[in-house]
Symmetry: C2
Subunit: 192 residues, 2 copies
Amino acid sequence: MEGSARPKPLRVDAQRNRVRVLEAAAAVFAEQGLSASVRDVAARAGVGLGTVARHFPTKELLLDAIVLRAVQEEVDHGNALAAEYEPGRAFFTFLSYLVDRGNANRGLADALTGAGFDVEKAASRADLDVIQVLQRLLDGAQATGDVRPDVDAADVKALVVGCLARERRAPDPAARTRMLAVLRRGLHVAGP
Amino acid sequence: MEGSARPKPLRVDAQRNRVRVLEAAAAVFAEQGLSASVRDVAARAGVGLGTVARHFPTKELLLDAIVLRAVQEEVDHGNALAAEYEPGRAFFTFLSYLVDRGNANRGLADALTGAGFDVEKAASRADLDVIQVLQRLLDGAQATGDVRPDVDAADVKALVVGCLARERRAPDPAARTRMLAVLRRGLHVAGP
DNA sequence: TAAAATACGGAACACGTGTCCCGCTTGTCC
DNA sequence: GGACAAGCGGGACACGTGTTCCGTATTTTA
């Protein structure tokens, strides 16, 4: 009830360019992070600056379009995990998933960190949604005694940010495994 | 063999201004992070832009002066801990110290993260020194079996960055304690 | 196919920031 | 105390980046 109820449909070339801009923006932000310039996006899309600006009058709106879509995928994945696995496994699998995604996409890592993009402000839903899903999975894992009860979702998010910081320069799957193992162990409830 | 062997000693007002600039820079970078502007530093010091630029021709040199000094303190503290406590305690105390410092000084947190300052490049000694001390303390704690043997200093540094990310918006001593507890537990060797 | 509406490209502008420069001031030395 | 060197302030410049604007090109519609 939004994209189809517009007063006037976009011209075909405008539709095509909009898609191109979105694809280019996704690629550029994934590679360079959210501080990449709008010029880079326009060049990658093969369009002029004005075209980008018309579809997304402000860089923040362009970031919203990209980041919100990606975050929605994360939220969906988190909910799917919650439905499929028992709480503890769902939670820790989601952690691993977040780390993988953040390492593969610098823009997402930036969004999680809050670098160059105030997630809580304009695109408020974005970060909060990740936090909310994280909280939901965390609640489940804490209820079953799989995770120590004192930590909250913001703690977990920060730990994920730490994992992303590890591979910022040189990707290293072994390090990723180690970091996640430390998190797993650190978050587990103290044994008897 | 450096500050006193200059061809000509600085004029007294130049010496005074140099100190003022350094103090202002330390304060501004601590508050705003390393991306704070040189103009802010000059204004805080009560001097003109030219004065800052003469003493530190480039922002990078100014950052070096501030960051290297602060990092040196951290290194010294780490070495003192190594001398005073047994390895495990020295290591975990140093972690706590790094987190406290990073939370109290946004510039140091930026330096640790590598935000707005390529520590490994010009001021190479800076970050590497923290890494080295961390590695030294870590080696000791691993030798005594206090810390799991697979992690390296870069892993630990990244985890500290994660702790700093937690309090970036709103300082929260309770969260800090929790995060450090998670780290402690996560880094401990697996029990029998 | 011709007229009107719509979109395009990229130059121009605004703004923040690091760096450079020069006329004036202040400290130093005889 | 006067001459000269050294330092000072802050305006000017260079540069990157987000945003705006308008003459031209393309699509839509009658």
